[in-house]
């Protein structure tokens, strides 16, 4: 794999994470527990859709085959998606959505902080812009972990169940493969493993304050980064891509 190809794959991962999680959050629109949350969830979704456009447009540029963000988002099938498994998991109840978000935000924040120092100016620029948004996302999802964890008995139970269910999808965030290693070598991106300690520190501190238990370390589900997804992604794409697939020569 050439450096260029590795960079393309790496950018797809960044873009697809934002795309798929933004899509999941957008599913909440109109169904949130309170109007304030409709607003807030939509805000996060909008930021992520914006980031998707930036990453995937850059990916298309790097690929050099004339594909832009829309072509990449709407005309790849599931096996060509590179998002981590965590972000495609179903919304579940509000606790699941917030646990997923907190795990992702904490990692995303740390990752973007590193990417803001990337040798590739284009990456650094997108990361710096996204970092501002994600700082707020993290604040918010962390806050909900506290509220639900230390709220009522029911909310505590639901939040703990959500954490226990999603925990197995967090390992993938910190595993390096040849693409991550190529990025590290070129000074374009960080070593994923190096993000684990600060991430775990943040998670532990938050859980402690929220009276939640940290799950036992266990088997990590992996595969999303190389296109081996869960069965959920296909249904996301069936909706997401319907119009582009059904009217192939149209502009909108």
């Amino acid at each position: 794999m050439s450096d260029q190809e590795a960079l393309f794959e790496y950018l797809l991962r960044l873009g697809d994470n934002a795309l798929v999680l933004g899509h999941r959050l957008s599913e909440w629109c109109g169904h949130a527990p309170a109007l304030e949350e409709d607003l807030a969830l939509s805000n996060v979704a909008l930021d992520l859709i914006g980031q998707t456009q930036l990453w995937l447009n850059l990916a298309g540029e790097v690929e050099g085959k004339g594909r832009d963000a829309d072509k990449l988002a709407y005309l790849r099938d599931a096996r060509d998606f590179r998002n981590i498994l965590l972000v495609e998991q179903p919304n579940g109840d509000f606790a699941v959505t917030m646990a997923r978000q907190f795990f992702f935000d904490a990692w995303h924040y740390l990752l973007l902080r590193e990417l803001a120092g990337s040798k590739d100016g284009r990456i650094a620029e997108i990361a710096a812009k996204s970092l501002k948004e994600v700082t707020y996302h993290l604040e918010r999802s962390r806050d909900w972990v506290l509220r639900l964890g230390d709220g009522t008995e029911e909310s505590h139970r639901r939040m703990q169940a959500a954490i226990d269910d999603l925990w197995m999808y967090t390992g993938e965030l910190f595993e390096a493969d040849e693409i991550d290693r190529a990025m590290l070598r070129e000074g374009l991106g960080p070593d994923p493993a190096a993000l684990h300690e600060p991430w775990l520190g943040l998670v532990k501190a938050t859980f402690e304050e929220a009276t939640l238990s940290l799950p036992q370390p266990g088997w990590a589900q992996r595969g999303g980064k190389r296109g081996i997804h869960s069965e959920h992604l296909g249904y996301i794409l069936a909706d997401l891509q319907f119009l582009q697939r059904a009217y192939p020569n149209a502009t909108w």
């Binding site: 109007l35 607003l39 909008l46």
Partner: protein, 313 residues
């Protein structure tokens, strides 16, 4: 008229805004609560037909625009519930009224969004009609309502342009897209005209509301204005308004248009629209399924406050 009532009406006639803590007639308060909360409910229920296409929007940009628009509707609902709260009714009470089916909301949202063109049609026609209703209300007599309207109108006109832009893209697109656009206009035209409410002849309460300046123009006036504005827009992008009786009346300086099917209007209002049940059920489910979250947030806030107090003591 009591002296209080007289001085209240004088302030209104002098275009001085009424503010929450001032004296106002009970009927004014009640009418305003009904009007503002109906408007708020319409924003909230109105999130559903458009929300139906968020996950299927055809490009990332369209997806973002649509999501932001539906988000704005939630925001409008919020402003309006706050305005209603200044009149002494809580958001929870109002939501319970909506959920129980007692409160009304704009009937237009009981129609389904069947294609992407419906998203264009809603922005263009439904928001267009809403603006027509709302612009005069920026000058309404109740301060908080008037100020909410000013914020809302600014955003709505933005939405309307975005909706028209969708329609234009479709009307200038492939034959399939053109067909989609025309079809959406066909389905949304008449319900949009109905949004202005019954003919003046059949409209109750209007005179009092106009005297109080919480209704500024008559239904028929606004409807005519909407038709006059919208017909040329349709023509400009090559779409045909589905009304064989529509024609320019040079003498009146307005478009003449056909009879509205008021039977359909009253059917939809009385609960028989294609989506009435679905809309209400979706709302009730969201509200009920969110209960434990709201309770948790309250419990957490209470604990936090108690801890802060304990520390301070």
């Amino acid at each position: 008229m009591s002296p209080e009532e007289r001085s209240f009406q004088e302030r209104i006639d002098a275009d001085i805004k009424i503010e929450p803590k001032e004296w106002m007639p009970e009927a004014y308060r009640k009418t305003l609560i009904r009007q503002i909360s109906q408007h708020a409910h319409s924003e909230i229920i109105g999130m559903q037909p458009e929300g139906n296409w968020i996950t299927r929007a055809p490009t990332l940009e369209r997806k973002a625009i649509l999501l932001a628009k539906v988000q704005d509707e939630a925001g409008h609902g919020l402003y309006l519930y706050c305005a209603a709260e200044t009149l002494g009714v809580s958001r929870d009470e109002l939501m319970e009224q909506l959920n129980s089916g007692k409160a009304k909301y704009s009937s237009i949202f009981n129609y389904p969004t069947l294609t992407w063109a419906d998203i264009g049609a809603i922005g263009w026609l439904v928001d267009g009609a809403a603006i027509m209703n709302q612009v005069p209300l920026q000058r309404c007599s109740y301060g908080p309502y008037s100020r909410a309207m000013i914020r809302i109108c600014k955003e709505e006109s933005f939405h309307q342009r975005q909706g028209y832009d969708i329609m234009m893209k479709l009307a200038r697109g492939t034959p399939e897209q053109q067909r989609m656009a025309q079809d959406a206009l066909n389905r949304w035209w008449w319900p949009s005209l109905m949004m202005f409410g019954p003919s003046d002849a059949d409209s109750v309460h209007s005179a009092q509301s106009m005297m109080w300046k919480i209704k500024i123009n008559s239904n028929d006036e606004l409807r005519q204005k909407f038709v006059d504005q919208t017909v040329p827009q349709a023509e400009y992008i090559g779409l045909t308004v589905p009304d064989p009786d529509l024609k320019w009346n040079a003498e009146r300086g307005h478009y003449d248009f056909g009879e509205i099917n008021w039977d359909e209007f009253y059917q939809v209002i009385s609960g028989n629209g294609p989506c009435n049940r679905q809309r209400l059920r979706t709302r009730v489910n969201a509200y009920e399924e969110g209960r434990w979250v709201r309770e948790a947030a309250d419990a957490y806030a209470a604990k936090k406050a108690a801890r802060a107090q304990a520390k301070a003591a």
